[in-house]
């Protein structure tokens, strides 16, 4: 012993000591890997496929074709010329003419300057490579045989493009004013809607938090109502209110509701609850001492407002602004219904894909739509990360004092906002019950005979409920377990950080983009997951992924409230973590778990954008039915279906409330002493 201690420095370095991973750690890491894999497969890979699709172009490869021309008697001398040579000689097509879409066709008579369909000259052509393609009329030739045609038939020859890679799609996009104008349109419509919504929501939230007016509970309820309907519904209400046969048409003084005006009003309606929620949270926590200080310094209420209230709520305001901006710029349903000739990015994607089957251009617009959405998302995250505890332990909650005049003003203001929200919904319900607006105003249930309309009928409605339930169950399980693993497992910091990053990503991805990416990824026959394409499963997966972020954040917040001691204690008692998870963590966090499931359910009922590319006739959805019925001109049944979604969601909320209360009574008794 003494010898060894003396020669300590001479000893070989000991092994690098590393904590041995327990079985529990392995299970936790395994679980995290599974959920990370889920996010990669349902988010990262589809987006990557879409990005690569936007660079996939179609080119006419003139070198792939060979031609022969006969003399007037139809005799060929054996001279063979390639398409490239012909084009170089005649200059028939510019380089830009040769890049096209998957649907492109190129006539060949321009290569022969003396061409006439009456001429007795015969032509021969062939593909030089197997799989090259040209058409005679509509008949496809893709082998390398020579084909002889007379002049009159030869003019029906159309070359078909082959796939290539390049940025031609983007060049094409930015050289088409009808397309890139949408960027400007989308941006200013979103900015304007954001400005209006945030101002309205701020004063509404202010009234509810900082005044003593009456009916606060009722107003809170009304403010949240728009969240229960698809974003298309305000569009339909606006048609009935301000359309050419609208009830309040005169209020617009001849302006058309179809266009930016309609989009802004509708956007204010459907984004209002989101802005209100965020701002009301920001206003709810405020330090009463600051107001006392302000009043003892004799600051005017106006000055106090700008120096205390606004700075205190600034993070909430900024956050609300970005959320609203993101919602408006990525929304597709509303501009589709009420946008008229006013093109926006999200509708462009739909038009490119559904109307023109131009998937590549759809991918290009998607890539462009992601940019402002990601930008808004990043700024929002930066702002939120700065918002730390403006409230300290010594803060005193602000108590508003009754003031008859201000309270009355706020009551009038809130009544107007409430009337706007209730009015929109009431108009839809009224329209749904009228027989034939505006010619026959008698009431009937005709518009509820969905099976007689396009869109999927009552089946679509029940499909939606099924989707809502499946999404709520599967989504909550995945999200909560994932959040638990990230929050409570030990070590493995890099993996956990990466997981957090991926979990935040869905918030920045517009639904249209996600849906389109799913087509590219899952509708590829070589994808082993191809089987879920066109089933309810892909709708569930897509919806869960689309609404992953908010659910994840809710779960993380709930889990953060639980001390990590629980894990240490269970480890020292030699209890498996999963047992702890099911016996302690889930019951304690049950209120949040229920919140996540109702959030997922409601969004699954109302979402349009993410699923519009993915539903199949067997899995038609109520929200899609609203879109399709409106599209076909059956506006009243569309309103009827929209209101069915509203009532279903309202019922779900009430059930959620009762369950929460019951569950809270049973599992949360420990919270009260």
């Amino acid at each position: 012993m003494p010898a060894s201690s003396a020669n300590l420095s001479e000893l070989p370095a000991g092994p690098n000591v590393k904590g041995k991973l327990s079985r529990d750690d392995l299970i936790m890491r395994g679980g995290m890997a599974v959920i990370a894999l889920y996010l990669i497969v349902t988010l990262a890979l589809p987006l990557y496929t879409m990005l690569s699709k936007s660079f996939s172009t179609y080119q006419f490869q003139l070198s792939q074709y060979e031609f022969q021309v006969s003399d007037e008697d139809g005799i060929f001398d054996g001279t063979i010329v390639s398409g490239t040579d012909l084009n170089n000689k005649t200059g028939a097509y510019e380089l830009t003419d040769l890049s096209t879409g998957s649907d492109g066709r190129l006539g060949v008579t321009a290569f022969f300057l003396d061409f006439s369909f009456r001429s007795p000259v015969h032509y021969q052509l062939r593909n030089t490579v197997e799989g090259g393609r040209f058409l005679v009329g509509s008949t496809l030739y893709d082998d390398t045989q020579w084909l002889e045609l007379d002049s009159n038939t030869f003019r029906r020859v159309q070359l078909r493009p082959v796939q290539a890679r390049g940025i031609d799609n983007f060049i094409n996009y930015f050289s088409t004013p009808a397309l890139f104008n949408s960027i400007k349109n989308s941006l200013w419509i979103s900015l304007l809607s954001t400005l209006v919504t945030v101002s309205l929501a701020f004063w509404f939230a202010y009234a509810l938090n900082r005044s003593c007016m009456r009916f606060k509970g009722l107003f809170r309820l009304i403010a949240m109502a728009p969240i229960l309907v698809p974003s298309l519904l305000p569009g339909i209400a606006l048609v009935y209110l301000f359309g050419n046969q609208g009830m309040l048409k005169e209020l617009l003084f001849g302006a058309s509701i179809y266009g930016p005006i309609g989009i802004v009003i509708g956007s204010v309606f459907f984004t209002f609850p989101h802005a209100f929620l965020i701002i009301t949270t920001a206003l709810a926590i405020s330090d009463g001492r600051l107001y006392e200080a302000a009043s003892s310094l004799r600051a005017s209420p106006w000055r106090t407002f700008w120096t205390v209230t606004i700075p205190g709520a600034r993070y909430g305001l900024i956050s609300a602004a970005f959320v609203v901006f993101n919602l408006v710029i990525t929304d597709f349903g509303l501009p589709k219904v009420i946008g008229g000739q006013f093109n926006v990015l999200a509708v462009d994607i739909y038009k490119q894909v559904i109307g023109q089957q131009n998937f590549e251009m759809g991918a290009v617009v998607s890539v462009i739509l992601i940019i402002p959405a990601i930008f808004a998302f990043i700024i929002d995250r930066l702002v939120q990360s700065k918002q730390i505890s403006s409230l300290t332990a010594r803060s005193v909650p602000y108590q508003p004092k009754p003031d008859r005049r201000t309270d009355a003003i706020f009551l009038i203001y809130c009544s107007f906002v409430g009337l706007f929200i209730i009015g929109m919904l009431a108009v839809c319900q009224f329209a749904a019950l009228v027989k034939f607006w505006p010619y026959d105003l008698s009431l009937s249930l005709n518009n509820y005979q969905f099976d007689k309309m396009d869109g999927g009928g009552w089946g679509a409605y029940f499909n939606s409920i099924k989707l809502g339930l499946l999404t709520a169950v599967a989504g909550t399980a995945i999200v909560f377990f994932g959040a638990y693993l990230v929050e409570k497992s030990n070590g493995f910091f890099l993996g956990r950080a990466a997981f957090q990053m991926i979990a935040m990503l869905p918030m920045a991805i517009p639904g249209m983009v996600l849906g389109l990416a799913y087509i590219f990824f899952f509708n590829n026959p070589s994808n082993p997951l191809h089987a879920i394409y066109g089933t309810m499963a892909i709708l569930v997966v897509c919806t869960v992924t689309h609404f992953y972020t908010v659910s994840h954040l809710t779960a993380v917040t709930a889990l953060k409230q639980m001390d990590r001691e629980f894990e240490s204690v269970s480890a020292s008692l030699k209890q498996p973590t999963l047992k702890l998870f099911s016996r302690v963590t889930v019951p304690v966090c049950l209120p949040s778990v229920l919140d996540i499931s109702i959030y997922l359910f409601i969004n699954a009922m109302t979402t349009v954008s993410a699923v519009v590319f993915l539903y199949s006739p067997k899995t038609a959805l109520a929200s899609i039915a609203v879109l399709n019925m409106d599209d076909a001109g059956d506006i009243a049944p569309a309103a009827a279906m929209g209101m069915m979604i509203f009532y279903t969601n309202a019922a779900a909320r009430i059930i959620h409330l009762f369950i929460s209360k019951g569950v809270l009574a049973r599992t949360q008794a420990w919270r009260t002493r």
Partner: protein
């Protein structure tokens, strides 16, 4: 207890699977036929072919076409029954259709059958462009009824006109392609330039203009005759006007998808689609059907529609589709203020 329940379940499930597997061939049929007609079509077919079950996949023309094109390398459909001929020409040019001459195809009007032999597709019925004119709203606005396409460019109709966007609607495209054929290439674009001045907005779907006219949202909607007749039957105050220069049309057609695993059943279905019985069935909604002598007048259908149908060049429409749509988009789409 547990075990027996399990056993019963498995027996029941097994029995159900066995019966459904043994009894019939199932055909996946893609269609754009109006939803309300599908059950009737399948029933009539099953009267003579009870052993073939049809699984409908229904959507609008654009979406079904997109779906078929997307599935080019791995087709899911066995048969297409009721899709626009222009769309079938696109599919044909991708080599996706199995040419087949159904028994009795020679009895059909030749313009309803693909020119190749054997034909890649056979037509069923035609849908024809028309103008829906709301007499009540037009009266309020003091308009006189138009009689021709040219009339619609009259300044009195400014802002009172709606048509479908050809980039998303098959009906819109057949209007545009018919104008290019009626007025010639240059004349057609000149005509649309003038028409654009009067258009309030373009809709995404082809039936919406007529439904909007029926609801009084706009006095005049360029749509198709079938839709107009239905709205009129539902009590809307509209007249269906057939412009004097002639009207564009497209047909619904049937084809076998290349690579189907159920070729025999598919052939039986296509054989049925050209029979007199099938054509009588199409006639309930469509005034013009492929089988000569079958068509009876459909209620509220405008007179003289058949004679007004132009000699439509489908190949021109299909092969120039991409170029026409691009030109249309650059001229009229996304411009809130007309040029």
């Amino acid at each position: 207890m547990k075990l027996s329940t399990k056993n019963i379940t498995s027996v029941v499930v097994g029995a159900m699977m066995a019966t459904s597997a043994a009894a019939e061939t199932e055909l996946t049929v893609y269609t754009a036929v109006e939803a309300e007609d599908l059950a009737r079509y399948a029933e009539t077919f099953n009267e003579s072919n009870p052993d073939i079950k049809i699984n409908w996949v229904r959507d609008s023309t654009g979406i079904i076409t997109a779906k078929l094109l997307a599935e080019r390398d791995n087709p899911q459909a066995d048969v297409i029954w009721g899709l626009a001929a222009t769309s079938l020409l696109l599919l044909k040019s991708e080599g996706m259709l199995d040419a087949y001459a159904p028994a009795g195809v020679d009895k059909l009007d030749a313009k309803f059958v693909d020119g190749d032999n054997p034909p890649a597709w056979v037509g069923m019925d035609a849908w024809v462009a028309s103008v829906c004119y709301n007499t009540v709203e037009a009266g309020k606005a003091g308009l006189t009824p138009p009689t021709s396409w040219k009339d619609l460019t009259d300044p009195q109709y400014a802002g009172h006109l709606i048509m479908p966007n050809p980039n998303s609607s098959g009906t819109g495209f057949l209007d545009v392609s018919s104008w290019l054929q009626i007025f010639g290439e240059d004349g057609g674009w000149e005509y649309m330039d003038a028409l654009h001045e009067n258009i309030a907005r373009y809709t995404h779907s082809g039936s919406k203009p007529c439904k909007l006219a029926a609801a009084g949202e706009i006095p005049i909607g360029i749509s198709f005759a079938f839709r107009g007749a239905k709205s009129k039957a539902a009590g809307a105050p509209i007249e269906i006007i057939v412009p004097s220069e002639g009207v564009g049309w497209d047909m619904e057609a049937t084809a076998i998808v290349a690579g189907t695993a159920n070729l025999d059943a598919a052939k039986k279905l296509v054989d049925f689609t050209v029979t007199k019985q099938a054509n009588e069935m199409y006639n309930t909604g469509y005034a013009v059907v492929a089988y000569p002598g079958v068509a009876k007048p459909v209620e509220f259908f405008p007179e003289g529609l058949l004679d007004a149908m132009i000699d439509n060049d489908f190949e021109f429409a299909a092969n120039n589709r991409a170029a026409i749509l691009k030109e249309w988009q650059s001229r009229y789409d996304g411009k809130s203020d007309p040029k």
